[in-house]
Amino acid sequence: MIFANTRSQRGFQITILAVLCLGAVVAMAPMVYMASTAFKPNAYSPEFPPTFIPDNPTLKNFETAFSSRNFVRAFFNSLGVAVATSALVTTLTAMMAYAFARFEFRGKNPIYYSVLAMMMVPTMMLIIPQFMVARRLGMLDSLPGLVLVYTAGAMAFNMFLLRGFFETLPRELEESALIDGANHFVIFARIMVPLARPALSTVAVFSFLGAWDEYIWALTVLTDLEKRTLPVAIANFRGQHASDWGLVFAASLTAVVPTILLFIFFQRYFVKGITAGALKG
């Protein structure tokens, strides 16, 4: 530490720690409440004040959720859709971003900005036109159709993120590879992609989460119960007049597990990826 550990310095650190703890408590409270409610029987109405440790903890809610007709199926539908979306988005945006970062070609900027412009259109505005297109293409009630829409929707932002990262990589690497006789595809696959791993992980995680959480579009296009995804299945546990929140939260808790695993798995790359390219974008 550069500064002497004076009293005021220590006071400052304690304040920071206190603020961080407070932030962590605020951020964690809803999760903890969800987790505890998931183990409460018959939680139709949330208690006030809330209790975080259930009086009679039970696994009944999980049993009900898992034995309901479509929950497990929905879980695997979501997993398939999210993994496929994540793989497609990562592959396609990496190639696009590399091209935008390194090549000069006619119309580069107009194309780049029109892709970015897609980020500015609110999703809800597009839902009816999108529905009509999906219908013409026979993509209603179809999981591959869902993957296509999710992939298209995630392209702009992730491409933007990756372009910034590729631009931070030194050009000398490519130049020396070119001299050694490598073509652009080899450079991209063997040099750039391995170097861009932190940024690619970020894109993979973001696009996975996007597809895993998406609700309105999935609800609108999927009517076949066997094809419905997890957010739709969870919403169907809610009732018109009253809901068994224990059941809803047990299902939600199940849905959070893969995302937590994913985050832990990618964490070491992920945190680097968000800040990478921040200085030179």
Binding site: Y44, T64, F131, L146, H241
Partner: protein
Amino acid sequence: MKRKLLIALLVVVLAIPLGVTSARQDTVTIEFWHTYNEVSPENEMLVETLIPMFEEANPGIKVESVPFPYDEFRQTMLTALAGGEGPDLARLDIIWSPEFAELGVLEALDEVMPDFQDYADRVFPGPLSTNSYDGHYYGLPLDTNTRILWWNAAMYEAAGIDGPPATIDELAAQCEAIKALGDDKYVFSDGGTYGWAVLPWVWSMGGDVTDPDITQASGYLNGKATVAAYEFLAEMVDNGCFSPSFLGGGLGTEGFFTDVFATVLEGPWWYPLAEAQYPDFEIHTSLMPAGDGGSISVVGGENIALFKGAETEAALAFLRFTQSDDYQLKMSEVGQLAVIPELIETDYFQNHPYYGTFLTQLETAKARTPHPRWTQMEEVLTEAGQLILRGEASAQEALDMAAEEIDALLAE
């Protein structure tokens, strides 16, 4: 090697969604969209008992039950219909029927169903009226309900009050004794200023949203009786007699079971829930407290409607089945009150522990304005209620403004 494995894995995952292909069928399949919660007894009754019963009696027709969450159902349906897709049959909240009829997506049952009148004559006239639009009927009632007064006997006893209020004045007079139990106790509570919550008070105090022909709100919504009803609610919230959750704070009826609210208005669906979550709680109900206009609660419930482009004959067969005594009685067992007055005479209803009060209340209960613009009208109403109950505008001012906006909606 690792890479090949990864690629193989990717290919497999990408192929999962392609795996399911639908088999060709000789039978006609109809889709029935509804909002029964997927693990509810209603859904179970429909899927496990009633649909199999129908399919057995009608070989060649298969009914596919498609549940949606209630909150997003209307919007999802509007999107699907705008895109040219939709169900064969749907269970619509009675407040949505006129809107869908106006969109031109529903079949007029009195035109496509030769025996429509026979069915129409059998059901409660109030719920039936919510299907009418522009001189035709676009559905039949499927289930009905209303809100009655639930009163917390333990709180009443502690406060030394004999029994539930028969009139609105009595309820107001009971406030003091209830408040004596503690600062956080309320004589009544509700969850917002939407029509479902506010209209029982407006109607019971002699007010209304529009004239009987639904042509204008001016003179009704901002009339003397309606203004007085809103002033009463504002005063009760202001002096702490009615809970602040009336403003939409979210703390709805649950405080009732934990001795915070002495009374609430609730529907029949609360019985099974109360029994499950608060098995020791003693349930007592009575009619909506009466005012100058009588004891008038709000009609809820659902209609069943037939969509254009449907497999009409097969869909009508199922629609007729939903009007049968079997279907109506079975659904009543899981909290979906029957719409056929004749059934009230059956042993099932006569011996039922709590349907009686609901049926009495239904005799006078009114439907929220059956009009295609109701959803927008209700937004205006909810906002005006907020302004009044928060004390940001006088009842007269806010309702004058609301009446003008609703007049404009009615003139469209």
